[in-house]
Symmetry: C2
Subunit: 428 residues, 2 copies
């Protein structure tokens, strides 16, 4: 032990100082931003899911048995063979050019104005949200989110200390009259939101899809009030029923004559749900003034997305249509099976969404049921779900839950939904 | 083109509104944090280096011909074979447990109190700096940095809006009397710095190493004043002369009887300089209250470091001693060759550091020479360097430059240093 004058005793980061008066309160060393962040319920759910016998509808994982493992191994070997040391050397912050070229061509097919300069590669969709938050949000800025919304986005934005304002949704997504009224109210208070965060396709957590008419109106309203649109679209390719709808980014490009530099839509998507999430490869398509700021933010955040992983994804691009088809069919089966089980098992008074794609559906129970309080009783019956409260940035949702259908077998769905129905019955 | 009422014309993110008065000034949409970030000169240097014939001492890349490519390809195939879908599924935010176990054992050898809970895996060392900034810095907080310091760290911290205070250094690292005086001054103003950022081994940019005596005194002073120490140690393994010095983290563990939870040192290191940077695998070792906050920050930043990459590094761990040996010998040769060329070619009045490891050395020219202004004239002679100014968080360093010796061949070193000497001669 070192005994020089001036050394101190430390106790759990509280400076207990034995020299002089300069000691700070170390309990307060952490930033206000990080203190405002709550742990992710999703992570705790992942832990809970590891009990043997548990049917876990609470996670949000893509089905691992559908990952194209042989092709991924092949792609990795090919990338290293083809690119040699370049596959593991520092790369450019913007991302691997062939991948950006492909994304410029395919993100909004036919929009010739989109170039690689409008594409920023990200280390997973979560990084897109973090860096969008970083380049836009000053403390006290207003950010609009859907009710309910993806809690991971809230967690990315919170360290930048925005005020959240919540927009109600129904079966067709954001309620536009309510949004207009909210924007008008905020404008009267002099609070123009920096952006609205929305997941138009098969939303996490509800599985709902924003209708075409509302997409157009969302662009009108946000343009009118000067609010950016952060369009998060990780599930858009995973439609298994109904007709494909153009993204907000694509609709906006039609309005600007194909010029992405006049679009106020920041489009975020990812290969996590179409190829495999552990590669952490995602992208943002946006106007150049935005991608230029994202590059600056990313330099300081992680310099660049791992080179090898971008090359692996690039090798896998020809596989994508067939892989996405496989996912669509499989998720359609699982969703159908879960919807049939819900229809069969659930008591009256419980409603649920009917997703046309993605991985999730959403249950609303009678007002007096609290799904957070009920969870341990469900777990006793060996079924887990994600509590609805955690998807509400401003509270609420106590009688709701999210179910994930992407990973469960038909047998597990039958057993799990039966157990869930018994739990709810007992609660009523 | 869509003609609904309320649509607007956009021009480079300036809302030119044709309805109502609600239009914001969109030029001001970006956060104060990102507006404060300057582009990295390093990136521009990387571009400049791509001219044929240029001898580029300006970069900071490890030598790609020394990457263990065959073993990396093997490790990737093994990881995918051994772990199957787990290699590309979502993983825990803390990181791959076998890798964290190894790091807990090897980061401070013999410190039995270090557990995987004290280890957070990061997506490259840059992310360690970003998230340390995020969990500690509130706008207006003071952060101490060395003069000169790694500009990438400054770029990570700037979005969180600290005030920087700069500590002078000499050939043995931070000048401790100056640090003590600065801490006392700041204390009188009621400004306790959140942390001091330091690179004790073969510092970037100077190549200098903090002496053992000063390491102990740095721990004394920071403990006395209640200032965390962010120890950035990417190069520590790359010592090619002199004796190994214990890290600040290790010295602090000796003081706490091996208890990392009573240490105020946040230790950051990386596999970028010992294996390959494009894998983006790094780690932080710190007290649990700190790693717990880092986990929260990382959830929102990128969820987790790519699973496959962590597994590849884990497969490569047995190779590490032999790989590090190879690097040490090679970098020793290159540094020796560059030092000989500098000794032979440079005019009087130019001084330079003699690094005992790492990748860099530092030139100080006569006061009246401006290395930024001189750079185009050096480039005309086909040699590039990194201007010293960009390593000075608070300005200064106009007559300094960083030279990187890790990637140049002996022939290029001879040619490049001769060209540099001619440029300097012409300047004097």
């Amino acid at each position: 032990m070192h005994g020089a004058p001036g050394t101190t005793k430390w106790s759990q980061l509280s400076f207990q100082q034995d020299v002089g008066a300069a000691a700070p309160a170390f309990g307060s060393a952490f930033s206000a931003g990080i203190k405002a962040v709550n742990g992710s319920a999703l992570r705790d759910m992942l832990r809970m899911a590891q009990v043997p016998g548990m049917v876990n509808f609470g996670g949000g994982l893509p089905a691992p048995e559908l990952f194209p493992m042989d092709r991924i191994a092949q792609a990795s070997a090919q990338a290293l063979e083809k690119h040699g040391w370049r596959a593991v050397q520092y790369g450019t912050t913007e991302g691997f050019l062939p991948l950006r070229e492909w994304l410029a061509e395919h993100t909004c097919p036919g929009a010739a104005g989109v170039t690689p300069e409008h594409i920023q590669i990200m280390t997973g969709g979560q990084q897109s949200l973090d860096l969008v938050g970083k380049i836009f949000i000053d403390p006290g800025d207003t950010v609009l989110v859907e009710t309910p919304t993806y809690m991971g986005a809230v967690q990315s934005f919170v360290p930048y200390r925005p005020h959240f304002a919540a927009v109600p949704t129904d079966d067709h997504g954001i309620e536009m009259d309510a949004l207009e009224a909210l924007l008008a109210d905020l404008a009267r208070e002099g609070r123009t939101p920096k952006f609205i965060y929305t997941i138009p396709n098969f939303q996490n957590p509800t599985g709902r899809t924003l209708s075409l008419e509302r997409r157009e109106r969302l662009l009108d309203l946000t343009a009118q009030y000067g609010v950016f649109v952060v369009e998060d679209d990780p599930y858009g390719q995973l439609r298994f029923s109904g007709e494909h709808l153009p993204s907000l980014a694509e609709l906006m490009l039609r309005r600007t004559g194909g010029d992405p530099d006049r679009s106020h839509v920041v489009y975020c998507s990812s290969f996590s749900k179409t190829l495999a999430p552990g590669l952490r490869d995602a992208w943002v398509m946006a106007a150049r003034p935005i991608t230029e700021r994202l590059v600056l933010a990313k330099q300081g955040a992680d310099m660049h997305t791992p080179t090898l992983n971008q090359m692996i994804v690039t090798e896998l691009l020809p596989l994508l249509p067939q892989q996405v088809d496989k996912l669509r069919h499989s998720y359609a089966d699982r969703a159908g099976h879960m919807l049939a089980a819900l229809e069969r098992e659930l008591p009256a008074g419980v409603s649920y969404t009917t997703p046309q794609g993605g991985m999730f559906l959403w249950l609303t129970l009678p007002e007096h049921v609290n799904t957070t309080a009920m969870l341990p009783r469900a777990v006793e019956r060996q079924v887990a779900y994600m509590i609805g409260e955690c998807f509400h940035a401003l509270g609420g949702g106590h009688n709701t839950m999210r179910l994930c259908f992407s990973t469960a077998s038909p047998q597990d769905i039958d057993r799990g939904i039966a157990a869930l129905a018994q739990t709810i019955h007992a609660e009523l």
